[in-house]
Every structure is written in structure tokens, then in C-alpha cells.
Amino acid sequence: MSSSSTPERIGDETALVALEEVEEVEALEQPRKGEAALGEAAAGAGGSGWVTAALAAPGLLWIGFYLIAPLVIIVLVSFWTFTDAGFERTWTLDNYSELFHDSTYWDNMLSTFLTSVIAVVACLVLGFPVAYFLALKVQSLRIQIALFIIALAPFWTSFLTRAIAWTFPLMGREGALNQILIKLQILSEPYQEFGFSTLSVRLAMIQLYILFMITPLFFSLAQVDRHAIEAARDLGGNWWRTFREVILPQTMPGIVIGSIFIFVLTMGDYGTVATVGGGNITSVGTLIYSKIGAVQYPQGAASAVLLVIVLMVGVWVITRFSNLREEL
């Protein structure tokens, strides 16, 4: 089965997006060469497509049950009727019409959206120099990898612990930041807004998620053709023009992928807001959570569906900035 079909490209842009993310961008070309050299023999050796299907089935079934089915049921429940026990299967649009008139929901959507946009821009601006330094200024490959790993290590540690570490010792009324600013006589009394505020949530999100921007940026910057940069310099381009006309266009895919990650992660965040915000700050995530806590499942599901629609529109808008399919 597999050997009879025509060879086609492994995937669409999502496939490429993913590869970019996992540190091996050059990956796609290579296997094809190797496999072409070997012919179909290696692939066909095990017999038929059944072996392939058997290999793929467990993972796909698992994802089907724990991801696809839950997403489908969210959509279904959002059209079902609210009862005291949860929901019953009577179709209705009430959940949505209530939501559309719920100003609290839209205020939260707006503020969460604003937080996301701020996080995306801040992560890009703050993260770009880091990725630029690692990819283009560090010459030894070994040091480059070592520094990258040191910068990446916090990704594997608990978001929650980092959020708590961020909140209590650092940002509170008596936190280190206030104390330092008072010592330096920049402030005369503690600045209340540092702890449990929108400001601290936004700062914490930047700190927690910035690595999702730096990683794709690093890999696309590392791929920028050095000769093109040198050529641009030799032709008299100053730093800014070289950056804008040579480096930036080649980095666009990384920027887009990083932005998608940050946008989705911050829009769908619950843990950070709950911990760093300390109950004072709400977001779409905390709102849905409180609806679930109150057993208002259909309302919660409808809120989630609207969130997903906003997410999809946002991702679509971000991808407009770069033609991933062509540029990767």
C-alpha cells in the first residue's frame, strides 16, 4: 500500500512548524535522500501497510480518546441544557446567547487578549537579543549549546513553583523588588501594584513563557546564511539595514511560530493567573474554572468554545505575517 502511492511531501506547514520547534530543522531533506537511495526495499520489507497502521494505531487511539473526543464533547455540551446535575441532552442556544450578553465574560476576554498581546510583543522584544546573541555572536558550537541549555533548563521545571517563587519572595508588598526600590530611594513606600495584580501576572507570564519564543527564534537565527550577512556588510549596508533586509526576513518563520506559542499559551492559561493573581485577577481561564466549579458545565463549555474561536482567529492572523509553507 505504502509503496504504491506517490511520494509526497511529509506535511504541510504544521509539520514544519513542529520540526522547527524540536531543534532539528534540517531534518526533512535528509531521510528522503537516504530512503530514495535505498529504494522502497527498507520500507516494504516488513510486509504491508498493516504493520505501519499497527504502529500508529495505539498512539492515535489514545489521542482520539483523550483529546479529540473531549474537544468534541466540549462543543456538544455547549449546545446542551443546563440542569442541577450538570447537563442534559436537549439542544439549545441559550448558553451562547447568555454569554453574548455577559459583559463580565467579554471584559475578561478583552483583558486576557490584551495580556496575551503584551506577552507576545514583550517576549519578542526581550527574547530576540538573547536568541541573536546565542545564534550569531557565540562562535563555539559547544559553548553555544551549553548556554542554550542553561537558558532552557527552567522550561522543564514546574511553572507553578516558578509562579510561586515569582510571587511571594519577589513581588509582594514586602517583596525583594519593593525593598530594593526603597533602598535605592526610587520609591518612598511599597508599591502595592507589584503583588497580586495585573502587572505582576503579565510580568510573570513573560518570565514563564519567554523560552517558547527564544527557542524557535534561536533555531531560525542559527539558520540565517552567514555569507548573506557578510555580503550585505561588504556591499555597504549598515547594521540596521543588514538586520532589516537580510536577517529579519529569514527569521520571520521563527517569530511567527514563537508568537503562536506565546499567544495560545497565555490565552489558555489558568495556573499562572490563579497563583500570581492570588484570586484578585480573573482571566477567561479562571472564569471557565469557576463555572465548572459551580457545575455550570454548558456555560463553561460555551465559554471554552468561544475562547477556541478567538484563539484560532488569532493564530490565523499571526500566520499572515509569514508564508510558512514557502519560507521553511
Binding site: S2, T6, P7, G11, A15, A18, L19, V22, E23, E24, A27, Q30, G34, E35, L38, E40, A42, A43, A45, T52, L55, A56, P58, G59, L60, W62, I63, F65, Y66, L67, A69, P70, L71, I73, I74, V77, L126, P129, Y132, Q139, L147, A151, W156, S158, F159, L160, T161, P169, G172, Q207, V264, G268, Y270, G271, G285, I292, A301, L307, V308, L311
Partner: protein, 326 residues
């Protein structure tokens, strides 16, 4: 004059083209590099400072509080509350129950993630040229990108719909594994792409059957990737809060992240929370760095000479061949 003396005289004449002029090459100092380097250090501080502060504050004396100044003496009293059941404000029972729960859950998730990711990548390696491979890729990316919180919500609704109560091992574990699979899959794909299939061919030619080839040739060569996948599954689950919070029920002891996350709203916040946070972070960092060191050593002994040779011959493919000198 003989010819010899003429030759000597000629040699004595200084020819301008023989003169080597050594000028100092003005190395322009790379200010941008210095500036960016300083920025990088500041960035690392920004990343690590909260954790460092938390670590420091966990070593306070018994009058210790949540903020600076550091209340002396330096002690491990707060750390002791994590395991010593005799202390006044002990949390040892919760910690050991939650720690065990987290450990079992994460180990299971790690194994499942490694197995599923490995099998899926094998399927792709076999030139799975159905239309389905695009769909599969899309599904995997969906698993990567769906907000954690929605996965939790969806699973809870699904289990309610089926008339069941969500539980850690039947529900939360599954929701964590789907997040790990894309990571594992991508790691394995990267491994396969650097993998030389001719070795397998050679094994076949020497008469090994498919099973033997797989067991004695393929698996030993890619085990780092499989182990990396396991590690992804383990750490993602070990640290997860957003997915698990909606999928656990009150009858089971909570995993560590849930214990930590619900702490501020359920009990007094004392420096032992810092000790607990520092401990879980330390476990993760220790795992990461151990694995990276092992991987680096393996790379150095097994991979480096070949790489160097291929680079010198200009034949290296898929390797980083850019000039690193200039």
C-alpha cells in the same frame, strides 16, 4: 667573476617581494557582542532569580517568613518539615503521599509517552504515504497546541457524560500523555533523520531477521532518543497543574503540583512551601542535567570522530558545517 660568485651576489640582493611586512591587524572590538553578552547574563538572572530567592528563603531559621530580610540562623528546619513527622508544623505525610503519587504517575506517563511516540515515529519512518500522515501530523500538533486547561475541561465533561468520575490514573494520566506524545514524536523524528539506515541493511544482508535487526541494531542506536522521550513524558507530568487540577477527585492523594498549587488557598503559607518548591525544582533540574551530561559524553565518545572526519571531507550532511572561526 665565476658563475658561483655571481649567484652569491644575486642572492645577497634583497628583493622587495621577499620582504615580509608584519603589520598589526587591528582587531575591532565587538562591542555588540559584549553588550549582548551582558544582556544575556541579565536575562539568565531574570529567569533564575525567583527560584534562587525561594531556595535561599527556605533555609531560614524557625522565625522565618516569606520575604526578606533573611531571618537567621541558617538552618534546614523548614526542609525537615517535609519528612520529619514529629515536628510541629510537619507536612511529611502529605508530601510523601503526594510525592509517591506524582512519581508513579510520571513514571507511567513517561513510559507511555516513550512507547507511543516511538511507535508513531516508526510508522512515519516506514514512508507512511497515506493521505493520513498529514492528518496524523495535524492531530499531533493539535495535541501540542491545545491549551492545557481545555484538555482538562473536555476530559472532565467526557467522563461525566459517560457517567464516571474522573480519576488520576484513568483520566489525568491520559490527558498528560497526549501532551507528551508530540514532544516524543518530534524527538524521535529528529533521531531517525540522523540515523544511517545502511547499518540495518547490512544486518539484513548478514542474515539477521527483522526482530533481531530491530533488537540488536536499531534499538541500541536510538535508545537515547527513546530515553529523551521518556524524560519529556516524565517531567511534563511531574510538573503539570493545569491539566490535572480538573481531573483529580478528592478521594485520592493529590500529585505534588496540585498540593503546591492549592496550598496558598488551603493552608498557612510558611517557608516550608519554599522548601517543597525548591525540592521539586531540584529533582527536575538534576534529571535534566544528568541526562544531558550522559548524552554529551555519549556524543563525544561515539559521534565526534566520525563527525570531524566527515566535516573535513566536506561530506557531512545535516551537520552544522558553518564556519565557526570568523
Amino acid at each position: 667573476m665565476t658563475i658561483q660568485t655571481m649567484a652569491q651576489a644575486a642572492e645577497a640582493v634583497e628583493r622587495p617581494q621577499d620582504v615580509v611586512v608584519r603589520r598589526e591587524v587591528k582587531q575591532r572590538f565587538d562591542w555588540a557582542k559584549l553588550g549582548l553578552g551582558i544582556y544575556f547574563v541579565l536575562f539568565l538572572l531574570f529567569l533564575y532569580i525567583p527560584m534562587i530567592l525561594m531556595g535561599i528563603l527556605s533555609f531560614q531559621g524557625d522565625r522565618g517568613q516569606l520575604t526578606f530580610p533573611f531571618r537567621s540562623p541558617v538552618s534546614i528546619d523548614w526542609w525537615k518539615t517535609l519528612w520529619d513527622t514529629n515536628l510541629f508544623n510537619t507536612i511529611a505525610e502529605d508530601v510523601s503521599a503526594s510525592g509517591r503519587q506524582s512519581l508513579y504517575l510520571s513514571l507511567l506517563a513517561g513510559v507511555l509517552v516513550a512507547v507511543f511516540g516511538f511507535m508513531l515515529s516508526m510508522a512515519f519512518r516506514r514512508r507512511w504515504r497515506f493521505r493520513l500522515d498529514v492528518v496524523t501530523f495535524f492531530v499531533l500538533m493539535l495535541a501540542l497546541m491545545t491549551p492545557a486547561f481545555l484538555v482538562g475541561l473536555g476530559n472532565q465533561l467526557l467522563w461525566r457524560f459517560m457517567g464516571e468520575t474522573p480519576s488520576l490514573y484513568w483520566t489525568a494520566l491520559g490527558a498528560n500523555v497526549i501532551w507528551g506524545i508530540p514532544f516524543s514524536f518530534l524527538v524521535m523524528l529528529a533521531v531517525w533523520n540522523r540515523y544511517d539506515r545502511h547499518i540495518e541493511e547490512a544486518a539484513r544482508d548478514l542474515g539477521a531477521n527483522a526482530v533481531t535487526t530491530f533488537r540488536e541494531v536499531t534499538l541500541p542506536l536510538v535508545w537515547t532518543g527513546v530515553f529523551g522521550s521518556f524524560l519529556f513524558g516524565f517531567t511534563l507530568t511531574w510538573n503539570d497543574f493545569d491539566r490535572t487540577i480538573l481531573l483529580q477527585n478528592g478521594y485520592q492523594s493529590q500529585p505534588l503540583p496540585i498540593l503546591i498549587g492549592t496550598w496558598p488557598s488551603s493552608r498557612p503559607i510558611l517557608p516550608n512551601l519554599y522548601a517543597l518548591g525548591a525540592a521539586t525544582t531540584a529533582v527536575t533540574l538534576f534529571l535534566i542535567f544528568t541526562v544531558l551530561i550522559v548524552a554529551t559524553l555519549r556524543l563525544r565518545f561515539a559521534g565526534a570522530p566520525v563527525t570531524r572526519k566527515a566535516e573535513e571531507l566536506g561530506e557531512a550532511e545535516g551537520l552544522d558545517t558553518r564556519v565557526t572561526g570568523s
